[in-house]
Subunit: 454 residues, 2 copies
């Protein structure tokens, strides 16, 4: 083959350890207890997660071994392919070399199983029989349902009610794996009942669903909570993406000048980019790293770096992160996975230290980029992933305008098979550009918890 | 890794030629002209397909080169992985070694792009600007839409009206690739208008949609027809599946005793199994080859080997094949890709010469097998593919009962992301066992064209 378009690794060449950026960010602010302001310690986490996972959450070690049973399950879809986007390069008439790391080939269709599988394994080892979690658009719930099936755990997913009804295929997907999917707010929890008492027609939110899952996990010794993003251990598990990419660039005899990922809670972004950031911090090649977020939920480009809750109800520890305030309800962009008021503390810290950049993109531009990508590369991307595509295309066009060939890598975090109604809305011209309300953000930020300067 | 579960090949190790079983079936009956009974010759085919494809349809050469531009596009998802189903083996407590060749990783989600890409390439080379085709459940239409986008061809898909409305995501998928999707019967063709005049509420059928596509292709010199199954050249293009599998078994230091594929028109089945059949005919290891068909559409197990039309309206040449009669309307099983009255002539001939076997499976058993597979291997299979899974599980259980370890290979032709409503119907107990009507088959067979003994 003259023009190679794909770089694979054998399952035996999968990384043996995950990479933890926390090791390379000395002075990283700890999670804090909302009542006392004290840094969170292991015992605070044990009611909802197994000790191994809690240790990873607090770890400052750079490398943490991937257990063999996790590698065995990873091997079904990992190492994921690194593609050279030659047809897209021709369509853009750019001198840039564009690569994308594709996570949509996992059985659940996104990068989310990378941590779902690890969390299911550790919980099973610890004797836990059930996992509870929340899901918005359903990518995370599907992935935990998959992992639960493979490790013999029951899975209860609280799915934001409006998505539960809008995306019945996602619910059916979870149920096919054997998971139980409940529209949230539900009558199963005190948190859900309180919301329903105030507003019986409440469409739900990720914050409410998280409160329900945490309540269920906290109230039953056999049940733990499993989180799909934001937390350190989640980003740790996702680092396998970037580590593989580095090995694949060696095969391609190339290395990226620019690495781009979409960012909602930060797990896809951190998973792809942190190994490159870490390599640069340890004397490797410098690389420009860009987080692409929705203009309608501009956590990094318009938010404040401060302590805030990870959920709406204020049940989580306080996290130091870029936030629009936990009361802020993002507009209904189709990229449901990017509709989150905060950003992972590790991503926030990297941004604050200028190790990465952040840019915002509008929904219409992103879907236009997604359609162009589908028609040149063949893969219909998830709405979340189109944000990375849009920003990568901007950079590729800049390479053309400046006459500078650069190597661009972006993360294609998932496919759009369950998001085709959004594509139809774009193609028929009925999709609108969603805008966030700056006043709502100001109000939400004014109400940040008082431990803000702890 | 101790227990390897995946065998990959590099894109540079993709087969350089397709394998044509017709070369190894001397005396294969020709297609015949419905008016004269004369064997079909090249000129008969040129109004609807390019010369290269027509030559392949009639070829008796064993190996036909895969053009480099086709290999370049194949490389996006090929060679497809060969998986060892270790978790399924444990779930079944079988001494059998079970492997599956997974085609669901293609951008369209099934094996269909293997021929769509080849046909789009040859048509583009021949100066054609548009392809017309029919689709039932939408796997084939999606694949041709993908191939059209990659080679710059317009694609018009006539989609069976009932599926068009039941499976809006499939239509949106095609439209995202830029294809035009029309519910059939439509007012765009004489064939469609005739049907609508007789029955304005007609839900459509694959036969009617085929007639519409053939009429459009025949009436415009810039438009050709592209078929997704049954024809020799389609099975030829699909042979890349089995050829890769043979190379992957060499990596695994194993070889199948039994090879199983689901069969509707025969393209997935022939693509997987013919290279194994050919190897055995040329002195290689003997292998048991089983075609799995729906009990509700038992073409091979209950049909007659005879000349019949490939479509309902009788616009195609006559094909010597196992058929239930072209007037037979199969019951609405969820495996839409297996709802076809006939079977590829090459598959029919192989069955007649006892080179392969055929078995039928009921829909409820197949979905039960599909759910069990999803929960052990992680992949939710297409309803069509569950037929192969069910038959593979039967053989694996027989290995346990007989205490005989055998190596079983089955084809997992696609994923079920667009078929989750069928899974819900199964999981909630509302799915029913569809039965074919023997009287309807008898009536349909009695009306076979008079050239039957040509």
């Amino acid at each position: 083959m003259t023009d190679r378009i794909k770089y694979l690794l054998d399952e035996r060449d999968m990384p043996g350890t995950w990479y933890n950026l926390a090791a390379d960010l000395p002075g990283l602010a700890p999670m804090r207890h909302p009542g006392t302001g004290a840094p969170i310690v292991l015992d605070d986490l044990l009611p909802i997660m197994p000790e191994e996972v809690a240790n990873q959450e607090l770890s400052r070690e750079a490398e943490i071994e991937i257990p063999e049973p996790v590698r065995q399950v990873y091997a079904q879809y990992r190492p994921s392919p690194l593609f050279r986007a030659r047809r897209l390069e021709r369509a853009l008439d750019t001198p840039a070399r564009i690569y994308y790391k594709y996570e949509g080939g996992s059985p659940a269709g996104s990068h989310k199983p990378n941590t779902a599988i690890a969390q299911a394994y550790y919980n099973r080892q610890a004797g836990i029989t059930r996992l509870a979690t929340e899901t918005g658009a359903g990518q995370w719930g599907s992935s935990l349902a998959l992992a639960g099936a493979l490790f013999g755990l029951d899975v209860s997913v609280y799915m934001v009610k409006v998505s539960y009804h809008q995306k019945p295929y996602r619910r059916m997907f979870m149920e096919t794996y054997g998971a139980r999917c409940t529209p949230s707010p539900s009558t199963e929890t005190a948190a859900g009942r309180a919301v329903l008492a105030a507003d019986p027609d409440c469409p739900g939110s990720l914050g409410i669903a998280t409160s329900e899952a945490l309540e269920v996990a906290g109230g039953d010794p056999g049940t733990n909570y499993a989180g799909g993003s934001v937390l350190n251990h989640v980003l740790l598990h996702q680092s396998v993406i970037g580590q593989e990419a580095i090995a694949q660039f060696a095969l391609a005899d190339d290395y990226p000048d620019i690495v781009i990922g979409c960012a909602g809670g930060g797990s896809n972004f951190g998973g792809l980019t942190f190994p490159f950031v870490g390599a640069a911090l340890r004397g490797g090649p410098a690389v420009r790293v860009i987080a692409a977020e929705p203009a309608a939920c501009p956590t990094m480009t318009r938010g404040r770096l401060d302590y805030d809750f990870g959920d709406t109800a204020g049940l989580t520890p306080l996290l130091r992160m870029h936030t629009l305030g936990h009361d802020f309800v993002p507009p209904p962009v189709h990229a449901g996975g990017l509709r989150y008021h905060g950003m992972a503390p590790l991503v926030s810290e990297a941004l604050d230290r200028n190790l990465i950049e952040a840019v915002a993109a509008g929904q219409l531009d992103c879907f236009a980029a997604g359609v162009r990508f589908a028609r040149s590369e063949g893969i219909v991307p998830a709405p979340e992933s189109t944000h990375a595509i849009e920003v990568a295309m901007r950079e590729a066009v800049r390479c053309r305008e400046e006459g500078t060939p650069r190597t661009i890598l972006f993360g294609l975090s998932g496919h759009g098979h369950f998001d085709l109604a959004a594509y139809e809305s774009f193609l028929t011209g009925t999709m609108r550009e969603e805008q966030y309300d700056p006043d709502a953000v100001a109000t939400s930020l004014a109400a940040l918890p008082t431990l803000a300067d702890a």
